[in-house]
Subunit: 213 residues, 2 copies
DNA sequence: GTCTATAAAGCGATAGAC
DNA sequence: GTCTATCGCTTTATAGAC
């Protein structure tokens, strides 16, 4: 079923699917070969260091994908609630409502997970930083925003665990519905982000009536 | 290093350590044999159905252990906040601040995880039910209590994922510190649980001054 | 750059002696 | 109830032809 040749990018994407579906130890070279259409030996031409290198490449590709699809939008100019909802829509798709693991979960249950700890740490750090910024934009104090950003990431990872362990996507869907309200509880309703956005030189939003009235 | 013979209970406990440390696929018969002091073949005398049966026994033993150490105390007569803190103290120890996975996480990343889905589902259902009861005792409406019980379990699982993926126990410790306040936010302070407890025929607490004054 | 063939080790599981 | 020995298969990885 796989096509003749892949770009490097497409190749890593296929690797990611196998790791995320079967876990690190479950992602055998035979499975990866089947998913990519390459022979087992050919994989060592692209990844001379073998499976560990493949996982490292997948983690890096995931970071780049999240940068574009999640982190940058989280830092955007839309209202905070809208940015959060957009993130959760992207994540519901990425995680297939919890049925597909992310790479942090994959590395959390594998031998020599220390090999990947630093990559995952920086991934989480970037994610939490952008969520913290969003929540301060929404009017939350910085320390509260930081705590809730940690909470949010853990809730998402936890929901994936529950969904995969119980073969029931309910937990992820419920989490995605509730998370914006919970993270934004007590935030000044759009006041602070509006002020910040209004005077931001990077704003692409139409300017308010102040300029014309 | 392993001693000569184990009781069935001790044997399953050793199995649990191996599964929780190395994951399902990482828990090889060789590792299990080393951890129990038995030969690989001897393990099939105790568990004729092999590795899947071993994992099933560990899950069941975990359920029994949680019933005694977590679920029953959650249903106790102490103030709700005290019961929550007691649970988190037990869990911090059980999960070694996130460094050891629980069986749900182990089964979430393994081949044929469907084999264990029903066991894990009933485990979670019991846990969530007891937490829901505790939170209604604290004065929360039943639907809010149920949502927060789900949230709490996911936060705990998520914290374990983050800790293991980053090799840093900070996330679990922070979660354990914050969870009681977050779950009990907005609850009537001890009012409802006190009323329920005072008139409970099962109460072992000393009766209030009403009886003597 | 992909392939066939194969090495070397590990896997879960079984047979049968004691 | 534990053992040694082994089966049959899969694993990661390599060698070398094309």
């Amino acid at each position: 079923m796989p096509q003749a040749t892949f770009s490097r990018e497409q190749l890593v994407e296929r690797l990611a699917q196998v790791f995320r579906r079967h876990g690190y130890e479950g992602a055998s070279m035979t499975r990866i070969a089947a998913a990519t259409g390459l022979g087992r030996a050919s994989l060592y031409h692209h990844f001379p260091l073998g499976k560990e290198q493949m996982a490292e490449m997948v983690i890096e590709a995931t970071r780049i994908w999240f940068e574009e699809k999640v982190f940058v939008p989280l830092e955007g100019n839309q209202p905070p609630r809208q940015r959060l909802s957009a993130m959760l829509a992207v994540l519901s798709d990425y995680y297939d409502c919890g049925r597909m693991a992310g790479m942090p979960l994959v590395t959390a249950v594998c031998e020599d997970r220390d090999r990947f700890a630093e990559s995952i740490r920086s991934f989480y750090a970037r994610w939490i930083a952008t969520m913290t910024q969003l929540l301060t934009d929404a009017g939350l104090a910085r320390d509260i925003a930081a705590r809730r950003a940690h909470d949010g990431v853990e809730r998402i990872e936890g929901a994936v665990v529950v969904v995969r362990a119980t073969s029931n996507a309910y937990a992820f869907v419920r989490m995605a519905e509730e998370l914006p309200d919970q993270l934004l509880a007590g935030a000044d309703r759009a006041a602070v982000w509006t002020v910040r956005n209004r005077f931001s030189p990077l704003s692409r939003e139409p300017q308010p009536a102040r300029l014309t009235g």
